[in-house]
């Protein structure tokens, strides 16, 4: 099966080139070609997941058949496929297929360029997830990023997307430069780019300045993509203006990719030298994760532009998944691996619901959509509310299992307190979504006349009905997101995959084709009754907060406390920080790198 692995990258790239080369083509053949290329990639990735799940180590394929030599010299470039990496690639392929279906009826004249960019994005993302080589990871990462910038700024006739695309591109390029710096330092130290080889070279030695600096540079660079605070500023601007089909894919998988990358490089490269300092490194990473989860949730609650609202929901949930990875334990990785697809699919589904609203109502602002939910089919309301409840982790749906596993894993290493972070972040983001649903679909809450902006031009000449294919896209994503954690045996499968993901000696030996040592024991995880209770309380809390918001217009505690004004002023300050100025964003990102580097220096 691994012989076919390069096809998962070659098919999207090849078809994308074909599409662009054939600009005069008609609409339908190019759409059909794009959907079938994405579907073929999806099938291949799925087969890789199943195949990798059967094998003890990662499936390895050296491109061009350049295998490692007997004297341990690795000249070839490896693809190393494990179940979690392949699953991320599968998630990306699913989202691209659905987004391509959605685009079918969404843009009047997208031309072949839009689907071609989506396919390049897919190829980059799949290549990144399946790569076992640092420099190939960087190249695929850049391929994916550049197509994402282009997708964001696709509507070049409007200023919003141009500016969103610009800050997205500038901030992420700074991140990519830092990643390349880290890679160059590692190469200078070890003379290798193969993840397994670099990991082996570093493993025997104590941690030193170079390891710390390259770790901080790589993690920081990937945190820019994952949009952890304070690297996150570009995300809301970009997601708010990206065309809906692109936003579906970004929110569902692009941000999660940053988290995957951090887990991948920690467990293959840095685990050797950093394991003795795991406790301190954990403290540094978890601090970033917690701040991200909470700040994202608060910002989410104060948004009225629904795409921005979902963008901040993305940031908050990425923070939660980052907590799982930051625990630096196999169980934490398992929790994050459960959380990422469930949340990602649900957020993508909610973006499709927004796309349907934009398509019919020409607006994406909560207040101007007030009470206009009846203009779209009723099922959209059910899907939207189901998505919001799934994000609230209503047991046993949606993000519930992942959250429970991360909370359990955190308690195991003395971070039981993060359960409060999960509670607050989930409560606030879900409440914001439910509030929006109440305003739009039920007409509850107050409203005011607002100047309606920009969105109407996303779809010139919307039809007088909602195409079935759009509703089907939303339904597929939301149902898949809700049901993901309920797949029988998924918990054990993911747990086992995470145990192997984190087993560096087995990974290295398999990739380098050395004798493979005995694998680590898999510790079982389970979801207890306490988690179920917390899940129900969170969901009820979210509904209550949403109801209170609709009734009073503000959070009640902001009104009752004497310091209400202070809290409000703090919120205004916080919103002003998100200034839209590229210079500010880059300065914050550099501050983030400094904090991360400083934290790591103290930690080791």
């Amino acid at each position: 099966m691994e012989e076919l692995a390069p096809l998962t990258v070659a098919i999207p790239f090849g078809v994308a080139a074909l599409l662009v080369a054939s600009v005069p083509w008609r609409r339908t053949p190019s759409d059909v070609l794009a959907v079938s290329a994405a579907s073929a990639t999806l099938v291949l990735c799925l087969l890789l997941v199943l195949d990798a799940n059967e094998s003890d180590g990662p499936l390895t394929s050296y491109l061009g058949g350049v295998e490692p030599r007997a004297d341990d010299v690795v000249l070839g470039i490896a693809m190393a496929i494990d179940p979690l990496g392949a699953a991320l690639a599968t998630l990306a392929a699913v989202l691209i297929v659905v987004a391509a279906l959605f685009t079918w009826r969404y843009f009047e004249e997208p031309g072949p360029v839009f689907p071609a960019l989506m396919l390049v994005f897919l190829g980059g993302l799949v290549g990144f997830s399946l790569s076992g080589d640092l420099f190939n990871m960087f190249v695929f990462f850049e391929v994916m990023s550049v197509s994402a910038y282009a997708l964001t700024a696709y509507r070049i006739d409007r200023p919003g997307p141009l500016q969103g695309g610009l800050s997205f591109a500038v901030v992420n390029t700074i991140g990519a430069i830092m990643i390349l710096f880290g890679i160059a330092l590692l190469y200078g130290r070890t003379g290798a780019l193969n993840l397994a080889q670099v990991g082996d070279a570093l493993a025997g030695e104590p941690v030193d300045g170079l390891v710390v600096v390259s770790f901080a540079l790589l993690v920081g660079g990937f945190l820019v993509k994952a949009a952890a605070v304070p690297f996150h500023f570009w995300l809301a601007d970009a997601y708010a203006v990206a065309p809906t089909p692109a936003a579906i894919v970004f929110t569902g998988v692009m941000s999660d990719l940053g988290i995957y990358a951090i887990a991948r490089i920690y467990w293959t490269v840095f685990e050797g030298p950093l394991a003795p300092h795991a406790e301190e490194v954990r403290a540094v990473l978890i601090t970033f994760a917690i701040v991200t989860a909470l700040l994202g949730a608060v910002m989410c609650l104060v948004q009225e532009h629904l795409k921005r609202l979902l963008a901040f929901a993305t940031i908050s949930q990425i923070g939660l998944a980052l907590i799982g990875v930051a625990l630096l334990t196999p169980a934490g990785v398992a929790g994050a691996a459960l959380l990422v697809p469930a949340d990602g699919l649900l957020r993508a589904g909610l973006f499709v619901c927004l796309g349907i609203l934009i398509h019919r109502c020409g607006s994406v602002h909560e207040l101007s959509l007030h009470g206009r939910g009846h203009e779209v089919p009723r099922i959209v309301m059910f899907l939207f509310v189901a998505g919001a409840l799934g994000l609230a982790a209503l047991p046993p749906l949606g993000a519930f299992t992942g959250k429970a596993v991360v909370e359990e894993a955190a308690a195991d290493v003395g971070y039981g307190g993060v359960i409060a972070v999960f509670f607050v972040a989930t409560l606030l983001t879900s409440a914001a979504l439910l509030r929006a649903a109440g305003r739009i679909f039920a007409g509850w809450g107050d409203t005011e006349e607002i100047e309606d902006e920009v969105e109407e031009s996303e779809v010139p000449g919307a039809r007088g009905y909602t195409p079935v294919v759009m509703i089907a896209s939303a339904a597929i994503l939301i149902v898949a997101g809700l049901a993901f954690s309920a797949i029988p045996g998924i918990l054990d499968q993911v747990n086992e995959a995470a145990a192997r993901f984190t087993d560096r000696p087995v990974y290295a030996a398999t990739v380098l084709e050395n004798p493979v040592p005995e694998g680590r024991e898999v510790e079982s995880v389970h979801v207890g009754p306490r988690a179920v209770a917390v899940g129900f309380v969170t969901t009820l809390g979210a509904i209550a907060v949403a109801a209170a918001l609709l009734r009073f217009g503000k959070l009640p505690f902001l009104l009752t406390l004497d310091s209400g004004n202070v809290a409000e002023r703090a919120l205004v300050r916080l919103r002003r920080l998100h200034s839209g100025q590229i210079g500010d964003y880059v300065a914050w990102a550099i501050l983030g790198f400094a904090l991360l580097g400083g934290g790591m220096a103290v930690a080791t």
Partner: protein, 115 residues
């Protein structure tokens, strides 16, 4: 080895590039500063592989046993140059479109989607 000089230079180039991006008052200037920052990675990569008095890694007219500088980092640098060129081209295209729509290139006068 040629000492720490190339490393000092590359960190310096990175920092002035980023300083330029942060303080820029003109989008074209900002984009060029970004590619200045990007070029620091070329210096770093080449410096990592450089050995004094070693030959270039082209074995057409020199004996096969000649010691040469590391060709891998040179390949990486070339790839990186391509990546950098792509990003710069895309950003400049966005800047051109922006000038067409908004008739300004001052980032302060741009007012993206606020709420």
């Amino acid at each position: 080895m040629i000492g720490v000089l190339p490393y000092v230079v590359c960190v310096w180039v990175l920092l002035i590039g980023i300083y330029g991006v942060v303080t820029s008052r003109h989008l074209i200037h900002l984009i060029v500063c970004l590619s200045v920052a990007q070029s620091s990675t070329y210096i770093l990569l080449l410096a990592v592989g450089y050995r004094k008095d070693f030959a270039a890694p082209v074995f057409i007219d020199i004996p096969r046993k000649t010691q040469a500088v590391d060709p891998v980092v040179q390949a990486l640098t070339l790839t990186d140059v391509v990546v950098g060129a792509t990003v710069t081209a895309l950003l400049l295209a966005i800047a051109v479109q922006m000038h067409k729509r908004l008739h300004t290139l001052d980032p302060d006068e741009l007012d993206p989607l606020r709420d």
